[in-house]
């Protein structure tokens, strides 16, 4: 919390991947994820190829493997369900180490795990090589509704402010002898959340007032846009391009 660096996922660098325009990278990642998802799960080798592609991008971006793997941990709660699938799915079963596992469940688990991990790894790479600010500008450039981009930008700006308010409220509660444990204290976090919501809402009103005072009329002025040249598009197309070839082979072989 508080004053950190640009953002926790970003890794400062000057690699060719860092220099690519954000909107190209967003398009490339979206295409890559779609292609991965469209790949048949039986083509196990194809997923190895995808992982190889991402490793190549990581190497080009000079993102160390440890950094990437640590951030992949965010996926764990989401794939926990996948681990359960072999036990609860129906269909023919296989015996393994004395456990009776469902064959279709195993395939489903593999499907979720492999595609999820590749998607998250791609996103982590995007976040590691793109400043949050550029990411927002990239989304704007891709014609995402400007309201959504504005909301995202405000969230980025005010997350620290709201977190700071929450921290001060908690310290104030602890200072007055509140002990956050047990069922009976559950009403306190609920009220804290309510108070935080009201405060944020009121801050929103004050910010809006300040914006109106400086001539805001409902749209953010676009002061500069970054266009991408053909070479940059070609460079970013490399990842989804190769992935598409792999995917097509996965369907035909």
């Amino acid at each position: 919390m508080g004053a950190g660096h640009a953002h926790a996922l970003y890794r400062h660098g000057r690699s060719p991947v860092h220099r690519l325009p954000a909107h190209c990278k967003i398009v490339a990642l979206s295409a890559f994820v779609l292609i991965v998802v469209a790949t048949p799960r039986e083509a196990v080798w194809a997923f190895g190829a995808y992982a190889g592609l991402l490793t190549a991008v990581a190497a080009a971006a000079r993102v160390p493997p440890g950094f990437l793997l640590r951030r992949l941990l965010i996926e764990v709660p989401f794939v926990a369900f996948a681990v359960l699938l072999p036990f609860i799915a129906e269909g023919p079963r296989v015996e393994w180490l004395g456990l009776s596992l469902s064959e279709s469940g195993l395939w489903s688990a593999w499907n979720i795990l492999a595609k999820g991990t590749l998607g998250v790894a791609g996103s982590v790479l995007l976040a590691a090589t793109t400043e949050l600010r550029d990411l927002l500008l990239g989304l704007q450039r891709l014609r995402l509704p400007s309201l959504l981009v504005q909301i995202a930008a405000f969230m980025v700006r005010y997350l620290d402010v709201v977190a700071g308010e929450l921290r001060r409220m908690r310290i104030a509660q602890l200072s007055r002898g509140h002990r956050p444990r047990g069922l009976r204290q559950w009403s306190t976090p609920a009220r804290t959340a309510g108070a935080l919501f009201i405060r944020s809402y009121e801050r929103g009103e004050r910010v809006h007032l300040a914006m109106l005072s400086r001539g805001y009329t409902g749209t953010m002025p676009v002061t500069r846009t970054r266009t991408a040249g053909r070479t940059q598009w070609a460079a970013t197309a490399a990842l989804p391009g190769v992935a598409l070839a792999v995917c097509l082979m996965g369907w035909t072989l």
Binding site: Y158, A210, S213, G215
Partner: protein, 259 residues
């Protein structure tokens, strides 16, 4: 009103006459405010909490519209057709810089006002740089506002409105939450500006330091108007309007920087 300087041929920066306003819930905040601020003057608007100071400020750029009376800025009346130009002319620096600085970087935030006015490209960059240099924050242009100290954020907030080249700078409690060094730095910046200033505050020493003239807003009317030192030396007047000097502060004894 008697202390206002001789009328100049150019229109006053701010002219408020007979301004009255009641909130939609029926609470009446202003009961006929008259105030004229000549170009280049620095005026302190003093008053206890709840006197209607913020309500008055929100009338100056047309966020609230007067129930009765009129406001004009540099000769231009505050009314819906002129609202864009009025908001360029009136630069309000709000009390909490976190409300004012909402863009991801300092430079973008300073660019917000002039960009809304239609400025682009090199001209916009020059304007942003000039405003940031004026407040001594040019080095912070590409930093996110939430990584700056409170005093730095307040200075950037001043730059965000200076970038619009306002006719009048309106500061809402500029010294609140500042440590003494940040307070002095801000005072140095404000004193160096060639712009009309209306400073809303109950920090009386700060008003004395920066503003030769002061007005007291109390119960929705201007209760006193005169040289700041004269007002602050009138213990009876201050007491009547819930204003108090800090312990040990003697307005007689202070040597004013301007004098």
């Amino acid at each position: 009103m008697s202390t206002a300087p001789a009328p100049a041929p150019e229109p006053a920066s701010l002219e408020v006459s007979g301004l009255a306003y009641a909130y939609p819930d029926g609470h009446q905040a202003l009961f006929g405010v008259d105030l004229t601020v000549a170009r280049g003057q620095r005026v302190a608007l003093l008053g206890p909490n709840g006197a209607g100071k913020t309500t008055l400020v929100l009338h100056l750029n047309g966020i609230l519209t007067a129930g009765a009376g009129r406001v004009s800025v540099g000769g231009l009346p505050v009314s819906p057709p002129h609202v864009a130009e009025i908001r360029r002319r009136v630069g309000i620096v709000f009390q909490d810089p976190d409300d004012q600085l909402f863009m991801p970087t300092v430079a973008e935030d300073v660019a917000f006002g002039p960009a809304n006015a239609g400025l682009r490209g090199a001209e916009l960059d020059a304007r942003v740089h000039e405003a940031l240099r004026t407040v001594g924050m040019a080095d912070a242009a590409h930093r996110p506002p939430h990584h700056l100290s409170f005093g730095q954020r307040r200075r950037v907030a001043v730059a965000t409105v200076l970038a619009m080249r306002p006719e009048i700078l309106v500061l809402d409690e500029p010294s609140s939450n500042l440590d003494p060094a940040a307070r002095r730095e801000l005072a140095d910046i404000l004193r160096g500006l060639d712009v009309t200033v209306l400073m809303v505050t109950h920090d009386l020493p700060y008003a004395l330091e920066l503003c030769p003239r002061a007005v007291i807003l109390s119960d929705g009317v201007i209760a006193a108007d005169g040289p700041t030192r004269t007002l602050l030396c009138d213990a009876e007047l201050l007491r009547a309007h819930r204003l108090e000097l800090p312990f040990g502060f003697d307005p007689h004894a202070v040597a004013l920087p301007d004098a």
